[in-house]
Subunit: 348 residues, 2 copies
């Protein structure tokens, strides 16, 4: 951990198991030397902290926020009307420099809205994206956008690629990230008007752009950054979750069918546990917001203490990479890359 | 099998392992009483048949086709320029009534083009679809379109739903198919202009329409017919394939890591085999073309004899259902369903 950094602001009220699981996760992070600023209903947060021995000697600070964004709340309205909501107070702590980053397991639309509302978009960024980190067979590829932007234009896809490349390089330490656009086939002739325009611009970008990838590449680990519109990204992400669950359910069912296979499963248990840990979203550390002026991480609504602790670590690492300026500079290239491919005005 | 039906025309030249695997699969189907008409280079087909004892006494007939559509061929051009290609000759056999249906493991774009070119679209159908049959935890749900139509309008999605519902009911025997549109969330407010317009029309359709489903529902078996544009459908299908493979690969790797887990895997082997069979695409019987005037089934390019045999059975069952007229009648309802939701002309 970087001792020069301010603590990570943690939305103690966000998620299905808040504040209990969130406070517990923050406490565990602090025990490992990562300073946290817990934000939420102070009495409830204190009551939760009281259950953890010796928290007073850890790098844990508190800040009160009197309101909570519910899952059913409209993100934009919640940010405007509930002025003292815990998500907004987290972002304000980042804005003021009291925190180096924020983490929330709450309403993900509201976290995105709060990031844009309080921190603001980076200068050239048209649409910040939610960046999913995938549990691939090898590596941890990024998929942008996972659902914030349903209708996309070429400039958005190009910016997702440019920003994701910086993130993969600076936060995940991939020396030269391989970038691709998710499409319905590898050939250049495939795709839509949207993907073809974005691909043409990225071929001129100087990135290690590999053209189109397909759904089957998402978890293979051959690419480091894959971009798509938020509709397709959301469908793909949930399809991965559903397929992993279907295969696991079928296997469990099948292993329980006879005495023999039950025994085999018992003996092979360490292997199942390893796979489970590898694909466990709680180990991933959440999905960063990319394109806002600061670091925010969205974690799963069902986050437990382990998921929160890992998200705090990821947030801290992202802040320590100090790459917001580089992301802004990368995004600013998109318009020019797209314009280069257009015929001169006199020919149009 | 239905003794009144003509044989199934099988494209003996299509697929990575043609003609060997295809002829073998046709032979196996014929041994089980399903008549086949093998279409392709007659000398090569006869040479393959000669390897299978007693084929002369089975319901196998041959028809020569002098040309082959290659995987790299442009589908439409191949249909026009290679007039005697095996895919086209298969469809012509269906058109004339010499075959009840056709099966091909060849260039899937060319199979779609051949179906439209030779059989024609059903009267009201704007875009025939490729209908994927999914190996769900329970049942065999349909996903349309899996890639034929990248850019879709609401009328296409509505027709996919109306046609798929007939197919699920008449060919798969689902009494009242549950129909949904694939989207980025279950709430009505989610989706795109495309999905919202299609959903509004389907709510008026009298089908058992359940609104939006998500990627995680594809293999859960809660819905019988799920519709989406061909771009998203193709990404979702390949994401399922890739995820199933990633989970399987991780598990295999992990099981091989120690003596203990190797032993467990050996003992539990029957359970792994059952799961493998359940998700085996070769058991699925291929993807039907829906919306052309006749029955065509596209099977995987890597089809072996088992895959071809199952596709012949599926093609025979689809022909025996005699539901082409009902599919046409269903598709014809789409425009009116969409128009009902529009304000009267004087208000616009």
């Amino acid at each position: 951990m970087d001792p020069r950094l301010a603590p990570v602001a943690v939305d103690a009220m966000g998620g299905d198991f808040a504040p209990e699981a969130v406070v517990h996760g923050g406490y565990n992070a602090a025990r490992k030397g990562l300073p946290v600023l817990l934000i939420g209903d102070e009495a409830r947060v204190r009551a939760e902290l009281a259950r953890h021995a010796g928290w007073e000697s850890l790098p844990i600070t508190l800040r009160h926020a009197s309101e909570v964004v519910e899952m059913a709340d409209h993100p934009g309205q919640a940010m405007r009307r509930k002025k003292d909501n815990s998500i907004r107070v987290c972002f304000e702590a980042v804005k003021r420099g009291d925190a180096c980053a924020m983490v929330s397991a709450g309403n993900s639309g509201a976290v995105m809205a709060g990031g844009i509302f309080v921190l603001g978009r980076l200068p050239a960024v048209e649409r910040p994206a939610i960046c999913s980190v995938l549990p691939a067979v090898k590596g941890r590829p990024l998929l942008l956008d996972m659902g914030a932007n349903v209708d996309c234009k070429p400039v958005h896809l190009v910016q997702f690629a440019l920003m994701g490349e910086v993130y993969a390089r600076r936060v995940f330490g991939v020396a030269r990230p391989k970038v691709a656009i998710l499409s319905n086939g590898e050939e250049e002739s495939k795709g839509t008007d949207l993907t073809r325009a974005a691909a043409a611009a990225l071929r001129r970008s100087g990135l290690d752009f590999r053209g189109y990838c397909e759904g089957r590449d998402l978890l293979a680990g051959e690419f480091d950054v894959m971009v798509t519109d938020g509709f397709t990204g959301n469908v793909a992400l949930k399809t991965m979750e559903g397929t992993a669950r279907a295969v696991t359910d079928l296997l469990k069912q099948s292993l329980m069918e006879s005495w023999r296979t039950k025994l085999g499963a018992l003996i092979a248990r360490p292997a199942f546990a390893r796979v489970k840990k590898h694909v466990d979203w709680r180990e991933i550390g959440g999905a960063p917001l990319v394109g806002v002026d600061g670091v925010g991480i969205i974690t799963h609504g069902r986050s437990d203490a382990l998921a929160v602790e890992n998200a705090v670590r990821r947030a801290h690492d992202a802040a320590a990479a100090h790459c917001t300026g580089e992301i802004a500079a990368a995004a600013a290239r998109a318009e020019a890359l797209l314009a280069e491919g257009e015929p001169p005005a006199c020919v149009r």
